[in-house]
């Protein structure tokens, strides 16, 4: 595709606010996401406080926001807290940081494009997201409290039957709005990767990061509309008096079907789990190779495993609904598919282990976070087996075990993966180096306390404690778990405190970090080898022609000739005959670029 060079805007408002530059939009998503991460994290601390010291005044936060109860959490406040924690973390923290920020930043730079395919759509995507953020904040100001129907928003609880007031309505609308933003972003990512790869950047020369982002964008475009429709129908039930999801005594025989919402929700909700992990798999696959100075082991296997997960992700969702009274045969079908999806996950995992085997591991901060992600994902994936197997899931469903499991995969793995990305690309984003020592403290604190927090939840869960209990210890058979819960809470508070180290490091590095070189990690992808730190407005003066994949490390002959252990994706290499015959020749689909 012909890629024009647009003149760089000079006015502040066009340069930093309503910018169409993917690098600026990436930072907008990053900052908004980090703010919501702090908000969602604070809510998590409040939940943990309630389980450690039930019904006592919450320090600091309680005095600020709960003065009417003397700082203590009441049952209605508690339900709002855990509902908002879940929704905020998924839709307003992980999604914008991982997909909004790093998808936007990495896709054009890593495939050799000057911007996204639709720069203006990209801008609308951010501002739509911003509008949805305003609705989230409005929900907190609602007179009857913020949304309180759980992050899954199951009706009839989430209709006026169970959750009257504007708080829940604002959140239903916010989910719809952020869904629209995500779809706009997704379309942009898909088209950009298909149409704007640099000449020679064939599909199998794409960094794994791009594969992860691209597959995630496809899932977003396919399944977020399903969530959007469900949110819209729910809004109609709340505002216009329709009965799509209301049944039972409240509406007599004119009722709708509450189960319909659960199906719509999970046919989105299960792919969502993969939406939040596919980019991480890609990023970690690349970073493990870069920092081990070795090729990514079985690159094509990793790519096909990610594709297999993408395809299967939509047909496993029924395992969230084993207990709803679905036909047993259907349950078994979902069980089979659920277990099947772990095969590609195993392939990815073993590829990571093989990638670091016999490497020369540079245990710098991005690599530490990537290894940490492999660790928590191992735990998260394996704890899923007990939930995929129906007979054991009947007991474990809706216990703290489920909470521990999905936090290890969705929260911990996505979170460590996102930080791996942030420490890795920060020099490219801001042109500054982050403090590596503070980064290491941040890593060790995060990974140790994450393990303790979510490990504690797993144990409490299979010991019988179930989730969303305001006062768990009124049940005698779980009373003995109170000390365990309190220790888990201490670990959670420590995890929260550890994040302050990151905040200090992040701000300090932006303001007065050491200037970063163009390629401080000595890696082979285009954004490091052919872009300044930070990149110029249109990324590349001359769009490079790619001749090889992103993981060319460990060739002794290269070392002898160039004095370094890698080849970038563009340079000619040892000599023309050493390359395979197709290399250097643009694939037909890429001809015409530049």
């Amino acid at each position: 595709m012909e890629q024009h060079i647009h003149p760089e805007p000079k006015a502040f408002i066009w340069k930093y606010v309503f910018s169409i530059d993917h690098k600026v939009i990436a930072k907008q998503f990053l900052w908004t996401g980090l703010m919501f991460l702090a908000l969602g994290g604070t809510l998590a601390m409040m939940i943990r406080w309630q389980w450690a010291y039930p019904k006592t005044a919450v320090p600091v936060v309680g005095a600020l926001f709960l003065s009417h109860t003397g700082g203590a959490i009441t049952p209605p406040t508690y339900t709002s807290i855990f509902t908002m924690h879940g929704l905020i973390m998924i839709f307003w923290a992980i999604t914008p940081i991982l997909i909004g920020a790093f998808g936007n930043f990495c896709i054009p730079l890593m495939i050799g494009a000057r911007d996204m395919a639709f720069p203006k759509l990209n801008m609308y995507s951010y501002w739509m997201f911003f509008a949805s953020s305003v609705l989230v904040i409005l929900s907190f100001t609602s007179q009857l409290g913020a949304a309180s129907a759980g992050w899954t928003t199951y009706p009839p609880l989430s209709t006026n039957v169970g959750a009257p007031g504007w708080g829940q309505t604002y959140m239903a609308l916010a989910i719809f709005a952020t869904g629209v933003s995500t779809i706009m972003g997704g379309i942009n990512y898909i088209v950009t990767v298909i149409r704007y790869r640099a000449p020679g950047m064939t599909w199998f020369r794409l960094p794994l990061t791009i594969w992860g982002m691209w597959l995630t964008a496809i899932l977003n475009v396919l399944f977020v509309p399903v969530l959007g429709s469900a949110a819209l129908l729910l809004s109609l039930d709340r505002l216009a008096g329709t009965h799509f999801f209301v049944a039972g005594a409240a509406v007599g025989i004119q009722g709708g079907d509450p189960m319909l919402f659960q199906h719509l929700f999970w046919i989105f909700g299960h792919p969502e789990v993969y939406i939040l992990i596919l980019p991480v798999w890609g990023i970690v696959g690349d970073i493990l190779s870069f920092f081990s100075r070795k090729p990514a082991f079985w690159y094509k296997g990793s790519v096909f495993a990610m594709i297999a997960v993408t395809v299967l992700s939509a047909v496993v969702y029924g395992h969230h609904m084993y207990q709803t009274g679905m036909a047993p045969l259907l349950g078994l079908g979902f069980e089979m598919l659920t277990l099947a999806i772990s095969v590609p996950a195993v392939v990815l995992f073993v590829n990571w282990l093989n990638t670091i085997w016999k490497g020369s591991l540079r245990l710098e901060v991005p690599m530490l976070f990537a290894l940490g992600m492999v660790f928590v994902f191992g735990a998260g994936g394996l704890t899923g087996l007990l939930l995929g197997t129906i007979s054991t899931d009947i007991y474990l469903h809706d216990t703290m075990y489920v909470v521990g499991h999905f936090h290890l995969t969705m929260a911990a793995a996505s979170f460590l993966g996102s930080f791996s990305a942030l420490y890795f690309w920060f020099p490219k984003m801001y042109g500054k180096q982050m403090d590596q020592n503070l980064g290491k403290v941040h890593f060790w604190g995060s990974v140790v306390f994450i393990t303790l927090v979510f490990g504690g939840q797993l144990v409490a869960g299979y010991s019988g404690q179930h989730r969303r209990l305001f006062e768990p210890y009124q049940y005698t058979y779980i009373r003995h778990l109170a000390p365990l819960n309190r220790w888990t809470s201490f670990a959670a508070f420590a995890l929260g405190a550890t994040q302050l180290i990151f905040v200090v490091n992040f701000i300090k590095s932006i303001l007065m970090g050491k200037k970063a070189e163009q390629n401080p990690w000595h890696v082979s992808t285009l954004e490091w080898t052919h872009c300044a730190s930070p990149p110029i407005y249109h990324n590349f003066d001359i769009v490079p022609t790619v001749v090889r994949g992103a993981h060319e490390y460990a060739d002794p002959a290269v070392k002898k000739k160039f004095g370094r252990d890698y080849l970038d994706q563009v340079e000619p290499g040892l000599s023309a005959v050493d390359e395979d015959s197709s290399a250097g020749m643009p694939e037909p689909e890429a001809i015409g670029a530049e």
């Binding site: 169970g162 090729p295 277990l339 099947a340 093989n354 058979y477």
Partner: protein, 316 residues
């Protein structure tokens, strides 16, 4: 709840008191230890590699291996076969849990915010207490009046959602004559945490006697019976006795006080107002509170209503 550094108690599955529990737990143990084994293996390998192959000096030689077909076939096939094994196990356990024996005793269960009602074949109804005979299969036919709830008995290892506008079923056979906790496992709003019930497992003759007397008839003095009912029938989920606001108005100092009602009128609280509010809660709603209380018509006998009133007077 005093906390000492080493006091973290013991953690394992709750007691097994149904015929299903040992079967579920056998599966749990297999998958649990398999997962632990694999976790140690793969994370151990990662940690070992991270230490063993960490960079010791600049310019180390690294392996350029990027493929091994034999290995790849092995580690794709072995997990796939193991997963088939898990599937078969899940299938067997699920079949036991899903299909009740034909001769099972059938009891109707209704859930609503935030209490459980059980109706027996002879027409007896109990609230938040389910009496069942030991060693006999019991099949529950369940529905919800308002939102989705879930019937969870940890010691029986059973869990089944209750959905408005549809019936769902589950079954169990209790193996010990004891009280067993029931929780609502599907989040159902502010009272979710308190939506518990009790299964009273009895030897067959005791159960027969219990059922004939209408399910736990009591000869306690009125105020004491009222105190028991106040928690048992979920009154305490929404009404405090210490003046604090939960869902509904606090019942502290209730008798004789004047309440402002929705719509502008007011009422002086006496025995008749309490009785009306229990049987027809929507009639006079206290201003500023949602009309959320379910009716107890048919769920409380006259003697029990008298007892509740007596209890409220005693704590006035």
């Amino acid at each position: 709840m005093r906390l000492t550094p080493i006091d973290i108690g013991s953690f394992w599955l709750p007691r097994q008191t149904s015929t299903l529990a040992p079967e579920v737990d056998a599966g749990f143990h297999v998958v649990y230890w398999l997962s632990v084994g694999f976790f140690v293996l793969v994370v151990g390998a990662m940690a070992y590699f991270a230490v063993r192959y960490r960079r010791r000096r600049e310019g180390e030689k690294t392996s350029s291996i990027d493929h091994s077909t034999a290995l790849e076939i092995v580690w794709t096939t072995i997990p796939a076969l193991m997963l088939l094994g898990l599937f078969a196990m899940g299938l067997k356990g699920y079949a036991s849990a899903a299909v009740a024996p034909a001769e099972a005793l059938e009891i109707q269960v209704t859930a609503e915010k935030w209490l459980w009602t059980f109706t027996y074949p002879n027409g007896t109804t109990t609230v938040n207490e389910l009496g069942v005979p030991k060693d006999r299969p019991v099949r529950l036919v369940m529905s919800s009046k308002d939102i989705v709830h879930s019937f969870f008995v940890p010691e029986f290892r059973i869990k089944q959602d209750l959905v408005p506008g549809a019936y769902t079923t589950t079954w169990f056979q209790a193996t010990e004559a004891k009280d067993v906790a029931v929780l609502c496992a599907e989040y159902c709003g502010t009272g979710h945490s308190d939506m518990g019930a009790k299964i009273i497992v009895m030897d067959e003759p005791v159960y027969k006697d219990w059922l004939e007397k209408g399910g736990g008839a009591s000869d306690l003095p009125p105020a004491e019976l009222g105190k028991k009912l106040f928690t048992q029938r979920s009154c305490a989920t929404c009404h405090s006795l210490d003046g604090s606001r939960i869902q509904g108005p606090s019942l502290k100092g209730l008798i004789g006080r004047s309440e402002d009602l929705e719509g502008g009128a007011s009422v002086k609280v006496d025995e008749n107002y309490i009785r009306e509010s229990i049987l027809n809660p929507g009639a006079k709603i206290v201003r500023g509170y949602p009309a959320a209380m379910p009716t107890f018509q048919g769920l409380l006998k006259d003697r029990e209503i008298d007892a509740l009133i007596a209890y409220l007077k005693s704590v006035n």
